[in-house]
């Protein structure tokens, strides 16, 4: 039985990796996305999208995201079951994506769950298998509002990079 602090730290490490995945695909940061996977990880996003090496799904998604105007992956409910140096987790995700189609601004909404299997190797947690289950999805035309706040970027010029480094 691991001590309480180790259990809390393990769960937090896994949660951080789940958030890092979202950050990587939204900022189109391929090396960051690769960092959450173990080298032999496997990703199953359904036969109609991607089944193959875990790091490869990052390459595929980031390439697809370049064809979209913007996207945001928000993870809510994260349940983690620890089994010493391995773990299983379920994370609810709500992904929204925007694209232009036939001159219209279309909004795609996806509600799904990341079902992840994790292993701690040499003290580092990494993803060994991810299956994505979609609960429902929609597509509709939307109208934008006047922007507010800082402009988002899908590269390292996004203001989040400096903030996370601790630069004011």
């Amino acid at each position: 039985m691991p001590d309480l602090l180790t259990e809390l730290a393990d769960k937090q490490a896994i949660r951080d990796l789940i958030y890092t995945y979202c950050r990587a695909v939204d900022r189109i940061d391929v090396p960051l996305g690769h960092s959450i996977w173990h080298d032999d990880g496997y990703a199953d996003y359904g036969a109609d999208y991607y089944q193959g090496p875990g790091k490869g799904v990052i390459d595929t998604i980031c390439a697809h995201h370049h064809h979209l105007l913007s996207h945001s992956h928000q993870v809510a409910n994260i349940l983690i079951e620890l089994h010493s140096d391995s773990a299983g987790s379920e994370s609810y995700v709500h992904g929204t994506m925007r694209m232009k189609r036939d001159g219209k601004l279309m909004h795609l909404g996806v509600w799904g769950r990341y079902l992840d299997s994790w292993e701690k190797r040499d003290g580092r947690w990494g993803l060994v298998r991810r299956s994505v289950v979609f609960d429902h999805q929609e597509i509709r035309e939307v109208t934008t509002m006047p922007g507010h706040g800082l402009a988002a970027a899908r590269d390292v010029s996004d203001p989040s990079y400096a903030v996370l480094r601790g630069e004011p």
Partner: protein, 165 residues
């Protein structure tokens, strides 16, 4: 400096809030019961007022009227006082139903306002109030069929959480 015990209490309560969502989305009644103490009370306004575990029975049957649903919780604020606690969780619930040719999506932006106690080391709800801030219904166009999500123990999440790959 916050003690590890208090961090663990917070996480235990958060996990119970997530298990509640999981139970009503997967229609897992025993899991839902484990989130409420036996003598708990649930107030969901006009739709239900009564025993906490009875709400789970009620909503898991009610959900069968829908094709699928997803309850996502964010912003969880927890105040702990020894073996008692209070929490507020924001929830966005989306439910789909078919009405003739139309596919209708119901959306609720609400908050779970919960009172907790720890009994024999187990945190569970004494009282839950569900406060709905706003709701809406819209016609939706699906993108494609989703074959893998299930509302029973065959959902792939059960084996993944057990540590099976």
């Amino acid at each position: 400096m916050i003690a590890a015990g208090e961090v663990a209490d917070r996480l235990a309560i958060m996990e119970q809030i997530y298990r509640y969502c999981r139970s009503v989305d997967r229609l897992d009644v025993p899991l839902g019961h484990s989130v409420f103490h036996e003598d708990s009370y649930a107030d969901f306004g006009a739709s239900y007022k009564g025993p906490g575990r009875g709400w789970i029975d009620f909503i898991c049957v009610e959900h069968l009227k829908y094709l699928h649903h997803s309850h996502q919780v964010t912003n969880i604020v927890i105040e702990i006082d020894g073996d008692r606690a209070g929490s507020e969780s924001y929830v966005t619930a989306k439910l789909r139903s078919r009405q003739g040719e139309r596919l209708i999506q119901f959306e609720f932006c609400a908050r779970y306002v919960d009172t907790w106690s720890r009994r024999d080391g187990h945190w569970a709800i004494d009282r839950r109030e569900c406060v709905i801030d706003f709701d809406s219904t819209t016609d939706v166009t699906p993108i494609n069929d989703n074959q893998r999500a299930r509302r029973d123990r065959k959902d792939p999440s059960y084996s993944v959480l057990k540590g099976e790959q």
